[in-house]
């Protein structure tokens, strides 16, 4: 998962946090009283692991709320099996993650974790979860290497960056019908990796490449290269700050090529910086547009007073995989892990099954479009 600073909505974050606090307080009460009466699944909890404070707190809160909603709905439907939610606030910091993971391992009632939210903390907490046999399902970590460490507890419900790149290339070729693609990257691990995958997938259609630097503000040489290559689409692998500047300077120089970017740009900060130049930009993301699932959308909005955001629906799915397992009587870590590994079922975002590395077998990548200053869903991109 990309790590971005969303200073844009501190009030929204506060509102979300406050409303979420309200609901979780009520549930704990309900959970303890209900759990005491029922015998089938006593003292069972799942955890949320990720940032609730810190610079990227908004992203974590989106995910936690998805989990919270799943747990609330489950407890409402199953009076005799009450599950509680434990929160592990890592602040998105890989260094804090190790201590929290050990703490989660030590709490015997916690039998599954939704998270860790970001790739960095997944990397440091992963070995500890694997050793403790505590199954995890991440709703947001996209680094492709995470599943290659041999941690049998690791799972995720979204496509990694190795599927997003080819999807972007597919969209460029099939929907935009671009024959000349120019690929730019920002030399970051995320951006350069993604740009390389797009470049490979697009093959002969690539008419030029360039690398910029993060923090750079003048892209005139890059814009000249794009213009003189005659490209009709430009893919940029990087984050929203440079994306905004680049597209603005492209448009000012009269370059009309379609601007295609990935989830690192799916942030209001992009439109804030680029203004009108952002119009028509295509943003790919391995995340479901929350408005696709009306029922979930409405329930989420009612519970938290705000619309579900990036990766809320994925978190809801991840939590439900575990909750179903608990309902089936898998109330210890070992059996729940087995349940998750063998799981096959319909989530709201996709049909969920995991391969032996814990990667989802069904991946959906969506294209979003900037229209009238808003990021709106365009269409699902065919993968494979």
């Amino acid at each position: 998962m990309r790590f971005s600073v969303k200073t844009g909505a501190p009030l929204l974050a506060l509102a979300l946090a406050l409303s979420a606090c309200g609901t979780s307080g009520g549930d704990d009460e309900e959970a303890s009283s209900g759990g005491g009466e029922a015998g089938t699944c006593e003292d069972v909890a799942i955890g949320y692991f990720g940032a609730l404070t810190g610079a990227a707190a908004n992203l974590g809160i989106n995910i936690r709320n998805g989990v919270q909603l799943a747990v609330d709905q489950f407890n409402e439907e199953n009076a005799d099996c009450q599950v509680s939610l434990e929160e592990y606030d890592s602040a998105g910091d890989p260094n804090q993650a190790t201590g929290l993971a050990t703490q989660a391992i030590g709490d015997d009632s916690v039998i599954g974790i939704v998270g860790p939210a970001f790739s960095g903390e997944s990397d440091t907490a992963g070995p500890i979860f694997a050793e403790g046999g505590l199954p995890t399902i991440s709703a947001s970590a996209t680094n492709p290497d995470l599943s290659q460490n041999g941690w049998d507890t690791f799972h995720r419900v979204l496509g990694n960056d190795a599927s997003q790149g080819p999807a972007a290339a597919t969209y460029i070729a099939d929907v935009i019908k671009s024959e000349k693609v120019f690929v730019v990257d920002d030399a970051s691990a995320y951006g350069a990796g993604l740009a390389e995958i797009v470049e490979e997938s697009a093959g002969d259609a690539v008419v030029g490449t360039d690398t910029i630097q993060t923090g750079q503000t003048d892209f005139s040489a890059t814009v000249t290269a794009i213009r003189s290559s005659g490209a009709d689409s430009v893919f940029f692998g990087g984050y929203y700050a440079e994306a905004g500047l680049l597209v603005q300077q492209m448009r000012a120089a009269g370059v009309e090529a379609t601007f295609v970017v990935a989830d690192g740009v799916k942030d209001p900060g992009f439109i804030e910086a680029a203004g009108d130049a952002a119009e028509g930009t295509i943003i790919t993301c391995p995340c479901l547009p929350p408005e696709e699932e009306q029922e979930f959308y409405a329930a989420f909005e009612e519970a938290f007073g705000a619309a579900p955001a990036t990766y809320s629906a994925e978190a809801f799915d991840a939590a439900n995989v575990m909750l179903e397992g608990i309902l089936e009587g898998n109330t210890d870590r070992e059996s729940l892990l087995e349940w998750i590994n063998d799981y096959s079922g319909e989530g709201i975002t996709k049909t969920i099954t995991f391969d032996e590395d814990g990667e989802p077998e069904n991946i959906s990548v969506w294209a979003y479009k900037v229209e009238n200053g808003e990021i709106v869903a365009d269409q699902e991109i065919e993968t494979n």
């Binding site: 200073t7 690398t211 910029i212 503000t217 040489a221 814009v223 003189s228 905004g244 900060g269």
Partner: protein, 329 residues
């Protein structure tokens, strides 16, 4: 290589545009160095505050692009005035808070350098935390359009629409390109005349040459130092508006990279030399663009700074090399 030749005009014009901004900011470094032999590292923040002043003027007036020409010119002039006022004000504040006492006590140059770096961080962070600052004084909601997304890019809604004027060598030169280059050259000429012909300018040259002798001749040294900071700040304010017209975005930490480049331009042209600053800016802007075109954008800084090293190896005092004090009257 053929890419460079095929797009030579475009790379040259865009390089000159960026170079003009470097040059105007470089003036602030060069003037202060000429008078005090100090590198004012907080000058980048002087520029950054000016850029926000220009943005806020356009936010407050809310002029859409495509308005009538007199309105557009009025808004731009107001933004220019605001940027120059704020930049000049911040420069004076810097002189008062970070320098004056140190200069009076004749503190070692390194102390003033650290003081400047500290001031630079403080000013940048204050801008990055402006939403909190507004919160403390209870105006967070009132000032929302000015302080929101304090850590992200802030956009300048340019009231002037970019239009092509004429085409040379396959590149359509825009009105903004022309405005930036011409204004930078005009301001440089005006400043040069100011330093050569006015009483204050003579004072600046006198203090640069020998501050003690100047004081004995009745030049008020403190007043001259303040004037130097003020002039540098005003130039940075103008540079801020020109930069926004071309690049359209500013940020709390945008000054850092531009400051390093402008300082480089000042050294390249000959630090302490007013005309050298603009020349150094142009050379640096062109070198960056040509370098990017030759090997790729990730090499732009490598090429630009290699050029700096090579020039300084052969001309250690920079291209024009003449100090402020020795400029002819």
């Amino acid at each position: 290589m053929s890419f460079l030749f095929n797009n030579f005009v475009e790379l040259t014009v865009t390089g000159l545009v960026l170079g003009a901004v470097y040059g105007l900011v470089a003036l602030g470094y060069t003037l202060v160095y000429g008078v005090l032999q100090l590198i004012n590292f907080a000058h980048s923040e002087v520029w950054m505050f000016g850029s926000f002043a220009a943005v806020w003027v356009t936010v407050a007036l809310g002029v859409a692009p495509g308005s009538a020409m007199p309105v557009v010119i009025g808004v731009l002039l107001l933004a220019l005035l605001a940027a120059m006022t704020v930049s000049g004000g911040v420069a004076l504040l810097l002189e008062r808070v970070a320098y004056r006492r140190l200069i009076r006590l004749d503190a070692p140059k390194l102390v003033a350098l650290i003081s400047a770096i500290g001031a630079s961080f403080a000013l940048a962070e204050i801008m990055g935390l402006r939403d909190r600052v507004a919160g403390w004084i209870g105006l967070r909601d009132t000032l929302d359009p000015y302080v929101r997304s304090a850590r992200d890019n802030t956009r300048f809604q340019n009231p002037l629409e970019t239009e092509g004027l004429f085409t040379v060598g396959g590149y359509t030169v825009s009105n903004v390109d022309v405005i930036i280059i011409v204004s930078a050259v005009l301001m440089m000429v005006a400043l040069d005349q100011f330093i050569r012909r006015t009483r204050t300018g003579r004072g600046i040259r006198a203090v640069a040459q020998d501050s003690e002798a100047a004081a004995l001749m009745g030049v008020n040294r403190n007043r001259i130092i303040r004037a130097t900071f003020l002039v540098g700040g005003i130039m940075a304010g103008a540079a801020a508006l020109l930069y926004l017209m071309r690049f359209g975005v500013t940020r709390w930490n945008a000054g850092f990279l531009l400051g390093v480049k402008a300082f480089t331009a000042a050294v390249l042209g000959g630090i302490g030399n007013v005309r050298g600053a603009l020349l150094g800016g142009f050379v640096l802007g062109l070198a960056e663009n040509y370098g990017s075109a030759l090997i790729g954008s990730e090499w732009r800084d490598v090429v630009a700074f290699l050029l700096l090293v090579v020039i300084l190896l052969f001309r250690p005092t920079g291209l024009l090399g003449e100090s402020l004090g020795r400029a002819r009257a």
